[in-house]
Amino acid sequence: MPAIKDSFELTKRFAAGESSAEATLQAALRVIDAREPKVGAFLHLDRDGALAQARDLDARRKQGQKLGPLAAVPIAVKDNIHVAGHATTCASRMLDGFKAPYDATVTARLKAAGAIILGKTNLDEFAMGSSCENSALKQTRNPFDLERVPGGSSGGSAAAVAARMALMALGSDTGGSIREPASFCGVVGLKPSYGRVSRYGLVAFASSLDQIGPFTLSVRDAALSLSVMAGADPLDATSSSEPVPDYLSALRADLRGMRVGVVRAYFDECPNQDVADRCRQAVERMKALGAEIVEIELPRAKDGLAVYYVVASAEASSNLSRFDGVRYGLREKTPSAIQNYFATRGRGFGPEVKRRIMLGTYALSAGAYEEFYGRASRVRTLMVNDFKAAFARCDVIASPTAPFTAFRAGEKSDPLSMYLCDIYTIPANLAGLCALSMPVGADARGLPVGLQLQCAPYAETTLFGAASALESDLNLNLAPTL
C-alpha cells in the first residue's frame, strides 16, 4: 500500500473504494510491530477490537451504508480518556485494575465517525509533566531520537502519530500537554478553546484549564477531527453551545488581511537559537503570504507559570481527592478507613502527583489561601485582559511552542526546570484560548521545532486558516527514520 499522507487522504481513498479498512489497519499494525518496541508509545493495544471495527466498516461499506467522516482512520487515545471496556490507567498505580464502564464523549463521537481505536497511549502520571518521564508504567521515547523524551504529558499520543503508528491521536492539554509534545515530535497538536470539546470521560486534572484535542499529521486533519469532536454535550456542563462551523472550509492558501501578533521577547529571549530562528522564518513566510505583522505586548505573561502552578495544583488537589481506595483502583490493606486513605494515596501516587497535591492543598489552606490561590486568580484576570487587548490588534499570535527542542531523558531532574517547558503554552489555558503547535523545521540535530499559533476563544477557523496557509507554504516533510 502506498504511504498515506494523512487521515484526510485516507478517508478519501476509503470512500473511493481504493483501500479497505482492514488493509489500512493491517498496514498500521505492521508499522506498530516494527516501531513500537523502540518507541514505547502505547500502554495497551487492542488488535482484536481494532480488527473487528475495521471488518465492520468494510462490511457496512459493501452494503452501501453511509460511513462517517473518519471512516477507517486508525487512532490512538491518551490513557486518561475512557474507552468502554478498556483499562484507563492515567499511567498511575492508583488506577490498578480499573476498567472504564463507559465511553468518553470524544471516544463515542470518534467511533460514530468511523475511526478505529488502536489502543491507549502513555502519559505523565495523571497528565502532570512535560516529558512522559513521570509515567509510573513505561518510558516513551522520541521517534526522532530514541535517547530523547517525546514531551508530555501526552507524549505517547505524540510519538504514536510521529512514528506513523496511528494517523491521529487524542491528547489532553492543561498547560501545554498537547502542544509541547507535538512540538517535540514534529506533528500538529491542537488545544481547542475551553469548552469547545466535551470532557465527559476525561479524568479531570484542573477543571478550569483542561481541554481534549487531537494530534495529527496535517492541519486539515486537525480541522477534520475537531469537526467531529466539537460541540455541546449534555453530559459536560462546561461544554459550549457555541455553533460548530465547518472547520475544513476554514483552510486557506494565503494570509491576506490577517494580522499576526508577535511578542518580540518570545523570540529574542528564547534560550535555543535554532528554535528562535525557525520560528522567525515562519513568521517571515506568513508575511510573504500576505499577513501583516504586528508587535504586541503581553506584560503579565511572565507570571503565567507562577499563576498556573497555583491554579492547576489547587484544582488537581481537589479533583484527585476522589482517589481514596473506596470506589475504584488501588486499595492498601489497613485496619481502619482513615488509615486507608493515607496508605492508599501514599502508595498509589508518584512523586510529581504528590508534589502537586501538596502544593495545591497548601495554596488552598487556611492562612495561605488569599496569598496564593486568591492572588493567582487575580493575576489570571490581568492575563486574560492582556489577551483581550492583544486580540483587538491582531487575529493570531505566533511564538515558539516550547523554549527548546526535545531534551535527553533524565536531563531535567529539578521540578522547576521541567515546569519551564510550558512557559509559552500555559497562558492559552489560563485564558481559554484556542492554540496549536505545528512543525516549522528542525534544529541542527534534526529535531523538530514547533511554532505555536494562538487565537481568541472560539476563533478556531482563524487558527486553521493561518496554520494551513503556512503549512502548505513550508511544505515540510518531517518524518523520523526508525
Binding site: 470506589r327 483502583g329 485496619p335 508534589r355 501538596m358 489552606s365
Partner: protein, 93 residues
Amino acid sequence: MDEHTVRHVAKLARLELDEAEIRRMAGELAKITGYIEQLRAVNVEHVAPTVHPFFDLNAWREDEVKPSFSRAEAVSNAPEQEEGFFRVPPVIE
C-alpha cells in the same frame, strides 16, 4: 515551607509520606513557592479573580430521570464489594 508545614499539609491531603519524602518535599516545595512569590510584586488591588475562563456561562437543564448505570456496573471497579455495596474497613472502632 518547612518540614512541619509539609507534615500538616500532608495530613490535610490524606497523603502518607515517609521521612525521606517529607525532607525532599520540603526542599522542593520551598523552591516552587519561592518562585510563585514573584506574584507578590503584581498590583492586584481592585482586580476581580478569574476562577473559570468563561464564568458567565451557565448550563441549565430539566431535572429528568434518565437511564444510568446499573448497581452492578456502578460497583464493578470497587476494590471490595458486597451485595452491590462498596465494602470499606471500619470507620468507627
